[in-house]
């Protein structure tokens, strides 16, 4: 599968890197607070069936313009600005974690402008009895245990093989992580709740909510809350997967998404 990389500029002026592969119905993917990994096998698999556009938010990868986005509305409008710049009409939109929160906000703003919505371990809600751990206070070695079903494999994926005991590697990871989470903090800090719950009633697109059964960051009880708040939503839970469900169980994940999107 060949992947094209392109840089687009939104009307607001953000310069965004987009990875594009496959053909078929357009499917826009929005990553979580950690950004895309160097390898994203689930996107490669989806590209066998759909025209996949994986966009990177400002401050992530080579995308810039972070100073242009300050609050939830900016992020959601930015999402639509990217779709406009790509020239897409009624794409499917899929977002993971923070990307799910943004995708859901986009769909609430313009419910008739997308075909189907996929929310993967999505942020955006807060249940007092099930507080989400504070990712902004994690030290580098603490992420994997919350993000993955299999912590050891997860750590390798997260660091791209970097040895965090090596000071230079640690610095590189820390600075990259600070840059990404600094941006994410604008909509996730200190509590990842910007009142999405009171807007979800507006959704008209069929929605799939996908969750890892052993998600220790945003536990699966949040999947049920999304289902309860969205007019037409179905939930799929995937075994032996944590918060990074698309990375941990790509086959099962892609099968569920494909079944839903058709």
């Amino acid at each position: 599968m060949s992947v094209n990389m392109q840089k687009i500029e939104t009307k607001r002026g953000a310069k965004v890197r987009v990875f594009e592969a496959g053909s078929g119905a357009p499917l826009v993917f929005m990553h979580g607070a950690g950004g895309l990994f160097p390898q994203n096998p689930f996107l490669d698999k989806l590209a066998e069936r759909y025209h996949v556009y994986a966009t990177e938010f400002p401050a992530y990868g080579e995308s810039t313009g972070e100073e242009l986005l300050e609050d939830m509305q900016d992020f959601a409008l930015h999402g639509w600005d990217v779709i406009t710049a790509l020239g897409l009409t009624k794409p499917h939109i899929m977002g993971h974690s923070m990307g799910g929160m943004i995708a859901a906000e986009m769909a609430c703003l313009a419910p008739n402008d997308l075909t189907k919505l996929v929310l993967v371990a999505s942020a955006g809600l807060w249940i007092g009895e099930h507080p989400i751990p504070d990712i902004f206070s994690f030290l580098p070695h603490e992420f994997a245990q919350y993000l993955f079903h299999d912590r050891t494999q997860g750590e390798a994926m997260l660091t791209g093989g970097l040895d965090l005991k090596n000071p230079e590697a640690l610095k590189e990871f820390y600075i990259g992580n600070s840059k990404r989470l600094s941006m994410a903090g604008k909509i996730l800090f200190p509590i990842p709740n910007r009142r999405l719950s009171k807007r979800l009633y507006r959704l008209t697109a069929p929605t799939l909510v996908v969750w890892g059964k052993s998600d220790k960051l945003i536990p699966p009880v949040y999947a049920d809350r999304f289902k309860a708040l969205i007019p037409q939503a179905e939930v799929v839970q995937i075994a032996e997967a944590g918060h990074m469900v698309p990375y941990e169980q790509p086959e099962a994940f892609v099968a569920a998404v494909t079944r839903f999107l058709g």
Binding site: F138, R180, I191
Partner: protein, 420 residues
Amino acid sequence: MKFTWFNLMPWPYLPDDFREKHHSVWVDIPNTLYDPQKGHFVYHQYMDQLEYAEALGFDGIGCNEHHQNGYGLMPSPNIIAAGLARRTSKAAIAVIGNSLALYNPPIRVAEEFAMLDVISGGRLLAGFPVGTSMDTNYCYGQIPALTREKYAEAHELVMRAWHEDKPFAFDGKYNQLRHVNLWPKPIQKPNPPIYIPGGGSIETWDFCLDNDHNYSYLSFTGYLRGKKLLDGYWDRVAKRGKDESPYRAAFAQTICVADTDAEAEKLYAEHVNYFYNRCLHIYGGFADAPGYRTIKTLQADVVNALSEDMQNLFPSLSWKDLVDGGYVIAGSPETVRHRMEDLIKGLHVGHIFCLLHVGNMPDWKTRHSSKLFAEKVMPHLRNMWPEWKDDNRWWCNPMETRLQPEHGVEKARQDGRIPL
């Protein structure tokens, strides 16, 4: 030289195994460790010590703001300062300070500082810290990437409120106020002297120099480590074409004085150890929320702060390490005097925030150390900047006819000082 006696107000009853048993002294410290009935006496003892410092002849007495912090019992330093303002009349009241981004709206700071300035008869030194990441982001929920901008806006609002004589509208990004009209206004004109506690970023230095605010470097790692940072500041001062008055800068230093060097170790080592071991047991994940510092600043010095060596540094330092390394200036009056001279000349500072109460130091030791410093050290250091002796730009300018606590309002009325 100006000497301000500072009390961080640590909780003195952290258990021996605090470091082993608990996650952090700050943010998520178990609040079951706090005992309000003991706290009653702790506050009064600490405030008594601050009043005693005035009696000893310290130029200022100081307090600061921390939240959910085992070594800082002052979420509202203004409450402490109000108590001090009523019971003292000579010393400057140094509130270092109010974290501007945490007050909603920040006009509250302009009001409360004006109240303190009026009650104290014009003795306020007004500090405006950005606030640590622990306080500002983790305890008070400010979005890290937007904290500095919010702070800068709040600073602009407070300064305008103090300066303007007519109501004005303020259309900020973080604060929208249709009718800003400060009441009461401070005694000191155009505003009380302003102190900006900061780390080593060029942005903070320029902010101080743009506004002619004092730059205060507050750390617990002492003057030898502070040298590099203050050298950077003075380079910046020179580059900006500002005069090099030592009163542009303040430095906080832990100081322990006894009759002899050996006696200093005997009296104070356990309390210094309490502070560096238990009070500075801060979980690394709370030190620096992503976005609190700029990427540029991070690139400059992130590795040090992150390394495991640094995380475990303090508890492994012996009394000798701490004293030789300048974290703590301790010893006989003679020893302390020489090291203070090195500090003052080496850092080129005119203001010292003297941390003479340390950790869980009992009252009598605190007073003993403070008295020796005031009587046997301070007089020798007074005139270290003769060429700048008339530079009062960063000191308070109290009203001459202010009240003395021992006389009160009735005496002032008899003297014809007040038109009541």
